[in-house]
């Protein structure tokens, strides 16, 4: 569905992505993992066309996304931190998004209902707490049924009940044979929500396979343990090759 | 007032001494020419209403010509109408129209050559090349005439009242509009110009050269192409005149060029692009004049010296005073300046700090005229503020040391 072909991204002095190649397939759910500054958000933004790679191509359904914008119709995106026009109310924000996507779109208001956001339709964005903003972001991401969902730290800042609601929604979508890409620092969540993992470190992809495979390779049962072992192995290999 | 009474009296005297010849279509004498031929010195011609087309009428007898209800004397766009060469002639109450236009001859409605003691009174002039023209004459009186013309350009029109080489002339209460120069004086001395109204003339409302010891009072000059020009003259008195709305890139309320030993008192300069522009002039006293809403109230060229500006009111002018020199030898004192920002601690109605009427930007554009394109820009504003705070470039001695705190009221009897 999405093929990333040898993309590089350099900001001034910093190399954010280096020779990243990935094949993301429909029906799979990817956990995008890596320490802070490893290039996860840059990768997501590249897929969304918000960041333009220095070299390499990204194909969406075999079509290059450079100079294209219509493909974003097929992506539901939840940003890490949602900032919205301060003076707009929640209701207006949803109306606006519907308006922009076009009137004849199918609408999925499941999360709006579940989070009871319709009760706060008149509230202005500047009056919202961080958690409520996160709910709004999630509801917006799932407002338009799409074959691809990209969620950047979806559960950060949500209360436990809302987290569960969101997780259920994600799992539901996963069952609908969609492509999901989720970043999170909460590995237990990822274990529940995803089946494949992309591990990034210093702009490079160090692991890209199923979580089962990772557990198998590291001989661990829990994802967190497996990941820790994997990183240790990597560091060991690195130190050896340096000598 | 006394003069006004004397004139009709004189007229009656003249009429009573000579014979009276009526002229008109209903009378035996049909034309003015016939009447002049018939008449002898001291006679009076009474012209009855009608249109008289007689070409050029030459008058060389001492006659009084009186029009009844403004009979029309038509030059048919070809001729000069009256050419007078005789003393003691009076022309009263006629209407002159359509003189010829010529570039070599100064064709006029009334031309007077080498004659004395004439009166031209209460006549009307329409569409005349020159209106009233005097050359080499003395002791004449031009009074209550109305001159109107509407030419398109300067070359198609002569002056309204044109005097050349005359002495002891009096111009009173005439109205001149739409001529080249409203009133033109060249080599006219010891004369008086009072209560005239000159508006909308192509060039100058009053054009005045080599005319010493004249006086003009209470005249009004409005909206003339280039305002009023007084040049190469000494001993002029300009009192109580109004110079208004003489507006244009080369228009002046009053242009003084090479004038000496004169007085400019009690005049009003309002809404002129330049109130007074002076060049090569010295020993002129400017007192009790009002300068308001002019672009430049006074433009003083460096060639002027020993002039005195005292007790004048300056208000709402864009520039109060500009000069192109740094050494200034004129006296400026006790004037009221509305731009003055000083204070008066001892309440003697005189400001305690001197006022500098010349702004830095005013200086700059005198030296570099192109700099006007920065007019009213923020840069100029800051420049002037800076110079006001720390004067460095504007002439040091050009200042009013005792500026008045309140405008003078010149109309109050005192």
């Amino acid at each position: 569905m999405i093929s990333i072909k040898q993309i590089d991204k350099k900001f001034a002095k910093l190399t954010a992505l280096e020779n990243v190649s990935l094949e993301l397939q429909t029906g799979k759910s990817y956990a995008l993992v890596g320490p802070n500054g490893s290039g996860k958000t840059t990768l997501i933004k590249s897929i969304l066309g918000l960041v333009i790679p220095t070299s390499g191509d990204i194909l969406f359904n075999e079509k290059n996304i450079r100079h294209d914008w219509k493909y974003r119709d097929k992506i539901g995106y939840m940003p890490q931190i949602g900032h919205y026009p301060e003076n707009m109310s929640i209701g207006q924000l949803f109306d606006m998004m519907k308006n922009i996507r076009g009137e004849n779109q199918r609408i999925d208001e499941e999360l709006i209902d579940a989070f009871k956001l319709y009760k706060m339709y008149d509230k202005r964005m500047h009056a919202l707490s961080g958690g409520t903003r996160q709910k709004v972001s999630a509801a917006l991401a799932f407002l338009f049924p799409a074959p691809v969902y990209i969620l950047d730290e979806p559960t950060a800042g949500l209360d436990p009940i809302s987290t569960e609601i969101l997780k259920e929604k994600i799992i539901h979508e996963r069952r609908m044979n969609k492509l999901l890409m989720i970043t999170s620092h909460i590995l237990s969540d990822l274990e529940e929500l995803t089946n494949s993992m992309v591990y990034m470190f210093e702009g490079k992809v160090h692991f890209n396979n199923t979580i089962e495979q990772l557990k198998h390779e590291t001989n661990e049962v829990k994802l967190s343990k497996a990941l820790a072992t994997f990183i240790r192995q990597k560091e060991l290999v690195a130190s050896v090759s340096e000598v | 007032m006394k003069k006004l009474l004397v004139i009709p009296f004189l007229c009656t005297c003249l009429i009573s001494f000579g014979t009276s010849i009526p002229v008109g279509s209903k009378h035996t004498v049909k034309t003015i020419k016939q009447a002049i031929e018939k008449a002898s010195h001291g006679d009076t011609l009474i012209i009855y209403p009608g249109v008289y087309r007689e070409g050029n009428i030459v008058l060389e007898k001492r006659l009084t010509v009186i029009g009844k209800d403004y009979p029309i004397v038509d030059g048919e766009n070809k001729y000069e109408i009256f050419t007078i060469h005789a003393d003691h002639v009076t022309v009263y109450g006629l209407k002159f129209i359509n003189t010829g236009v010529a570039s070599i001859n100064d064709l006029a409605a009334i031309k007077v050559l080498e004659s004395n003691y004439l009166r031209v009174q209460n006549n009307k002039f329409e569409n005349t090349f020159f209106g009233i023209y005097f050359a080499n004459s003395t002791n004449c009186r031009v009074e209550g005439n109305e001159l109107k013309s509407d030419a398109e350009s300067e070359h198609q029109i002569g002056n309204g009242i044109h005097l050349w080489k005359c002495e002891h002339m009096t111009l009173d209460n005439n109205r001149v509009t739409g001529h080249r120069d409203g009133i033109y004086f060249e080599f006219v001395t010891e004369s008086l110009i009072t209560n005239n109204y000159s508006e909308g003339n192509m060039r100058y409302g009053l054009h005045f050269m080599f005319s010493h010891n004249d006086e003009y009072r209470n005249n009004t000059f409005i909206n003339n192409g280039a305002g009023v020009a007084v040049m190469y003259t000494k001993g002029v008195k300009m009192i109580g005149n109004t110079f208004e709305h003489n507006w244009g890139s080369s228009a002046y309320g009053l242009l003084l060029k090479d004038i000496r030993d004169s007085f400019v008192t009690g005049n009003i300069f309002k809404k002129n692009s330049v109130g007074i522009f002076m060049e090569g002039s010295s020993r002129i006293e400017f007192r009790e004049n009002t300068f308001s809403e002019n672009g430049y109230a006074v433009r003083l060229q460096a060639s002027c010296d020993d002039n005195v500006f005292e007790r004048n009111n300056f208000s709402a002018n864009t520039f109060d005073l500009v000069t192109n020199g740094t050494l200034v030898l004129n006296t400026i004192n006790h004037n009221y300046w509305d731009h003055y920002e000083g204070y008066d601690l001892n309440h003697d109605a005189v400001g305690d700090v001197p006022y500098r009427p010349v702004s830095l930007y005013g200086m700059v554009i005198e030296h570099m005229p192109s700099a006007v394109l920065l007019w009213r820009s923020f840069f100029v504003f800051l420049m002037d503020r800076a110079e006001k705070a720390v004067p460095a470039i504007t002439p040091d001695n050009l200042k009013d040391n005792s500026p008045a705190m309140k405008p003078y009221d010149f109309h109050k009897a005192n």
Partner: protein, 255 residues
């Protein structure tokens, strides 16, 4: 485009600043009319506001607004919307609301006290300068990612066109004062929209008589059909060029 624009406009018009700006213009204009009944003089006093305050407010407000809407722009760009649509939508939104504030704040008192050619020219130059400086603000906004830096660039633009350029112009006039400069200065004026607006306004106010030969020359030029077309065109270029350049940069920019 209109869909995006609608919501951007809605957002900006609600901000307190636009209301304050409108009120400021309204009170100033109204006050000036109260102080002086001669509309020519009022317009002349307003000229200072139009030449100084309007560009300053336009450029600073637009830059700040752009950065405050940064995440919103990001959100929009994650939707199936063209970059240029979002960017031009933002531009139009800011430009329209600032113009509306200006026209309301200055125009309503003018309507109350009698509108004339002077007043209309003033509205025209004010709106044009607003557009030019919003355009420049968007350019300074895409030149850097840092809000403070962008505001710095914006202020520099303003300072340059309001002050520094005129200083340089005076220097040119001084250096070449022995030559006929009218045509050259006319070209130089075109390089500064503030100067161009000021000259158009001064000529409209019939005070060109005070500007001597230069004024007469300009009057003749700007009074001619060609002059009107050219000056309008130049101002139009001043609006279009910065925003077009900004758009180009924005299209390649990483968010």
């Amino acid at each position: 485009m209109t869909r995006v624009l609608k919501y951007i406009l809605y957002d900006i018009l609600r901000t307190r600043f636009i209301l304050l700006y409108t009120a400021f213009l309204f009170i100033s204009t109204f006050g000036l009319y109260q102080l002086d009944s001669d509309s020519g003089k009022v317009v002349l006093s307003l000229l200072n506001i139009v030449l100084m305050v309007v560009p300053l407010v336009s450029i600073v407000f637009s830059t700040i607004h752009f950065f405050n809407s940064y995440e919103f722009i990001e959100l929009m760009l994650a939707q199936p919307v063209k970059r240029s649509t979002v960017f031009l939508g933002e531009f139009m939104g800011v430009a329209c609301s600032l113009c509306a504030a200006f026209v309301t704040g200055v125009g309503v008192p003018m309507l109350l006290f009698g509108i004339n050619a002077n007043a209309l020219t003033m509205l025209y130059t004010g709106v044009t300068l607003t557009l030019v400086f919003v355009s420049l603000a968007f350019l300074s906004s895409v030149l850097t990612r840092d809000k403070a830096k962008a505001i710095g660039i914006a202020l520099l633009f303003w300072l340059y066109f309001s002050l520094i350029y005129d200083g340089l112009l005076l220097w040119v006039v001084y250096s070449f004062s022995d030559y006929p400069l009218e045509k050259i200065t006319l070209v130089l004026i075109a390089f500064n929209p503030v100067d161009l607006a000021r000259i158009i306004m001064l000529l409209q106010l019939d005070i060109s008589a005070l500007m001597g030969f230069t004024g007469a020359f300009y009057q003749e030029f700007f009074g001619s059909y060609l002059g009107i077309v050219l000056s309008t065109l130049v101002l139009f270029i001043w609006i279009v060029l910065p925003i077009a350049l900004a758009q180009r940069i924005f299209n390649r920019k990483d968010l």
